[in-house]
């Protein structure tokens, strides 16, 4: 891996690193204290808690008035550029992501709500989109600069394996806004020069999974958890399983009672693989509950395991070791 000489030098120079970070953070602090943004963090927190957008006057104005939003965001970018001129190796203290054709910078986040700058580069070749994704979130995107051709997708009906989606083209330009919901999404098909959006979004309190569908026929291509915390816990469970931490089995049995069906099932699988007795007891409990949505799959797995290991049937007749 090539590491530039300047970075190599910076690596060993803690005071210089702290100075660069401090300068960047100061630029952001100064911007937050400036006009047009004071109070936005509090409003974003209220929006995350479920208030309507029109109950958050600062956010409402910011996402409705292109000139205002442009001047507020320009002030931020100018402040960051000024800081970077002084500290060229400073880290912009925002969560960010860059890939070919676009970049995003998360300006502020509170709970499930976030204010993000999104940029699309019209010069990079864009492959025609083949899939459209819907996530359990809502919000709006205000065009700060540039123009683009969108394809707006409406999720009309959905089954476990496919969806009916209506599409319509839309031209969007500076000052215009696109509002999205869990059933309305968009694809940027063509960017004229570049496109910069200010995006305000919030996810549901208990977000359902996001789904990707093939645009050609609406077939479900992929489903992903919409709950970051739950995926975090799922990874932690998998880690405990790979570490063979048998002492985690009671916790996994407990986790198989709460959360999404997918998460509960993963907890059950990990529990069974770590501790057969405790896992099977948890499985049998779920299988016996006719009101549990996992009752069917649990009963099928229970029967399958008993067929393979007949001695498991005796566990149910004995007191639970947990």
């Amino acid at each position: 891996m090539h590491v530039a000489a300047e970075l190599e030098t910076l690596r060993g120079n803690w005071p210089a690193q702290r100075r660069a970070d401090g300068r960047m953070e100061q630029a952001v602090r100064t911007w937050w204290a400036g006009s047009g943004v004071a109070g936005l963090k509090d409003e974003l927190a209220r929006y995350a808690e479920g208030r309507e957008l029109n109950e958050c006057p600062g956010l409402t104005r910011l996402t409705a008035d292109g000139d205002r939003a442009r001047s507020v965001c320009a002030a931020l970018i100018e402040a960051l550029c000024a800081a970077l001129r002084e500290e060229p190796l400073g880290q912009v203290p925002f969560r960010h992501q860059a890939s070919e054709g676009g970049a995003m910078l998360q300006i502020s986040q509170s709970g499930g709500a976030a204010l993000t700058l999104v940029a699309y580069d019209g010069l990079s070749p864009r492959a025609p989109a083949e899939a459209i994704a819907f996530s359990d979130s809502e919000g709006c995107e205000l065009v700060l600069a540039g123009a683009a051709e969108l394809r707006v997708a409406d999720l009309v009906a959905e089954t476990a394996r496919a969806a009916r989606i209506d599409y319509e083209p839309r031209h969007i330009a500076a000052g215009e806004r696109f509002d999205f919901t869990p059933h309305k999404a968009r694809i940027v098909e063509r960017v004229h020069g570049s496109l910069v959006l200010l995006r305000l979004a919030r996810t549901a309190k208990q977000p359902g999974p996001s789904r990707s569908f093939r645009m050609a026929d609406g077939a479900l291509l992929h489903r992903a958890s919409g709950d970051r915390g739950e995926s975090h816990r799922e990874l932690a469970m998998a880690l405990l399983g790979r570490m063979r931490r048998g002492d985690a089995a009671p916790l996994l049995a407990e986790l198989s009672r709460e959360g999404s069906e997918h998460f509960r099932w993963q907890a059950l699988r990990e529990c069974l693989a770590l501790d057969t007795a405790q896992g099977f007891a948890a499985l049998a409990r779920i299988a016996a509950d006719a009101t549990d949505p996992l009752g069917g799959p649990a009963a099928a797995l229970r029967a399958q395991l008993i067929a393979r290991y007949p001695q498991l049937e005796r566990i149910e007749a004995e007191p639970c070791p947990a």
């Binding site: 969560r95 070919e100 990707s212 992929h222 992903a224 958890s225 693989a273 395991l305 566990i315």
Partner: protein, 52 residues
């Protein structure tokens, strides 16, 4: 009572499989409006699991 050890890979997933937060299908890969959060797990044998 001697109980068998059950291999995780032998236990089926649910019919409606769900990937982790931020995961995408190969077809859907590319720039879209989701910010991907990367989760890193650091395990220290002395102090137990922790996350960052």
């Amino acid at each position: 009572m001697s109980l068998p050890a059950i291999d995780l890979a032998s236990l089926p997933g649910l019919e409606a499989g769900t990937g982790l937060y931020g995961s995408q299908s190969a077809v859907a890969c590319g720039m879209d409006d989701r910010l991907i959060i990367i989760m890193v797990y650091v395990y220290d044998a002395n102090i137990g699991p922790s996350t960052h």
